[in-house]
């Protein structure tokens, strides 16, 4: 009997985590979910001051649109509209039925149509190597390389193979238009092929406190040269408003590398590393928690990195890519 009692007490004592843990916070209550999201953004979002956003007044505006028992799709619209006020495509609310977006690419004209390039520039000489699509242009004097997304892995083998093909050209065109970003580690890997010494190309800093101006010390962003095949001749980097996040990181870094020249339209931005989180109702979200600065500590990457040579697409002529044409002219003028 005594033994049974001990066993029962032992089992009872072994199930008391509910006493130790904080209460279950899961909830579909619109007010609780609104408060949770608003507070998370308030405490961690990194661009309030740069964008001159009054987050308190935004709370007042959108809180007034809440009501008890409001349908979930209505709550989604309120929360999504509140996040759009941040003017940031690294900010999304994700529910099973919808995803909120700012759509920064609509701030500029569309400047990319890959069919024109395949049909009128690369033709049958097009090659697909890993994540890269490439071919010769302009009587084999210029190499064209298309990297569609930094989410696609880059292997040293593929990069070496591709650059070896174009090693005798006068210049390269690296097309990063409509490249929406991806892994930041692919940025230094690609840049390593265009530098011959270790170079500082920018800084990062991350929010680290309650105040909107609280940031940790800046961290350096270096590019180191690849030990094998590199390309040291002029490289035109094609960008547009669809070049976002990691592509903006890449574009900003090129400002510190003389032989890399940006051609096209300003990038979409996305200089802040986005985090991720979940609301009490199970929806997930993300928003920027860091900032990208150039080597002079200028803080413009979130609004987009401007090109050295601004060119836009002419949609009246569907056989010509004006941005490629301008890049070709630039390479030819540099090699004369």
């Amino acid at each position: 009997m005594r033994l049974t009692l001990i066993l029962l007490l032992a089992m009872l004592f072994s199930s008391c985590e509910r006493l130790l843990f904080q209460d279950d916070m899961s909830s579909i209550d619109p007010f609780e979910n609104f408060d949770y999201l608003w507070n998370e953004v308030d405490q961690k979002y990194s661009y309030f001051e740069l964008k001159n956003i009054n987050w308190d007044s935004i709370r007042v505006e959108y809180f007034s649109k809440l009501y008890s028992e409001m349908p979930e799709d209505s709550l989604f619209k309120v929360l999504a509209s509140m996040l759009v006020e941040l003017r940031d495509d690294h900010t999304n609310l994700v529910s099973p039925f919808n995803i909120s977006m700012y759509n920064v690419e609509f701030l500029g004209p569309q400047n990319f149509n890959f069919r024109i390039i395949k049909e009128h520039y690369l033709g049958s000489n097009i090659q697909y190597t890993g994540s890269l699509v490439h071919g010769f242009l302009h009587n084999n004097n210029i190499g064209y390389i298309r990297y569609a997304s930094f989410t696609n892995g880059l292997s040293d083998r593929d990069l070496t193979y591709v650059l070896d093909i174009y090693k005798n050209t006068n210049g390269l065109i690296l097309d990063l238009r409509s490249n929406g970003g991806g892994s930041i580690f692919n940025v230094p890997q690609l840049l390593a092929r265009f530098v011959d010494s270790k170079q500082l190309v920018g800084y990062f800093r991350t929010r680290n406190g309650i105040s909107h101006s609280d940031f940790c010390d800046k961290e350096s962003f270096y590019v180191t040269p690849f030990s094998g095949m590199r390309y040291q001749k002029p490289v035109m980097i094609l960008i547009d408003r669809g070049s976002y996040s990691a592509t903006t990181f890449f574009a900003l870094a090129t400002k510190a590398i003389p032989n890399l020249i940006l051609v096209g339209d300003t990038t979409g931005g996305g200089g802040g590393l986005p985090n991720g989180g979940q609301l009490p109702n199970g929806w997930t979200y993300r928003f920027s928690i860091g900032q990208l600065l150039d080597i002079h500590e200028n803080n413009y990457a979130e609004e987009g990195v401007p090109p050295e040579i601004a060119v836009n697409f002419d949609w009246n002529n569907m056989a010509v890519d004006e941005i490629i044409e301008r890049a070709v002219v630039e390479i030819n003028s540099m090699t004369k």
Binding site: M25, S26, D73, P188, N208, S220, G277, G282
Partner: protein, 310 residues
Amino acid sequence: MKTINTNRLLFRTVLFFVFVCFLDFHVFPQRQEELKHDSITKHEKPVKPPKYSLSSSGFASFTYRDFATSPLFYRGPSMRFSYGNLRIDERIDQMWFIDFGGGAAFAKIPKSSYLQSYTTAFFLRGELYFHLLYDIKRLSNSFCNVKFGGSGAYFANVRYNESLGNNGIGVDNIFNLMFAMKASKDISRKTEKTRNWLFIEKVLKPKKRTLCFQVNTGILNFNYRPGYAYSYSGELNGNDTNPIGWFFQDYKWAMNGWRLSTKLNFTSYLSNGNARQFAYVWDAVGAPGRHSGFEMATHRLQITILFNTK
């Protein structure tokens, strides 16, 4: 309000340990004297306690919540495997083990009247554990043997939750120095017994068996968890960047939190000196960290084979 409750509980736990420490400090010296006296008068070499090699496997139910990324509990099943070493007799209990496991956990999301959300996390866990316990004569009697001592544990919990984007990977490093108490009851079958079960008669031979209950409570609790923003843009040194070092750049040490674990086990010794052990292990951890807290509990059913090595 919840913090106050937790603090109150922690305060009571501390009081309990102060009491236990008091007992321990007063009983140990006497015990040491007894041992010393015995060794001098009898001029006999002390008998070394038997040593076992442990190999365990088990199923666990896992619950955690990482406030930095979600206010929701994640729950799910996991498998655990351990290997270790045990030296045990009535005077001493010394054990270490390494433990590996992994599983999947599902967010406890409230029911939606629209479209239901689902999020899943996967995790791997590794743990190192050590304890050293001595019997307390004043508390031990013919009913049970009571041992007190210390234990240390470190575990790393690697979580992956794709829906959390750049915060999808989290590593919880928890290190605890704990006070440990173990009560053992000898429930050996001393005489041969006959049992009838569905008209089948079975003769049960004498067998050595023990039933033990152990409690570990953290005294010094450390954790190494992500910093303020969880994700961090650390220094990138081109292709020379170490991804692991980059990942941990903003992790912070903190000395706070609690840990409480219990283990109820039944050990049946075999005629060849080996043994089988069936255990129910409950383990709960709280780590407020520097910025956002982490809570975790596991309930584990475990089978262990003890190989007698000496």
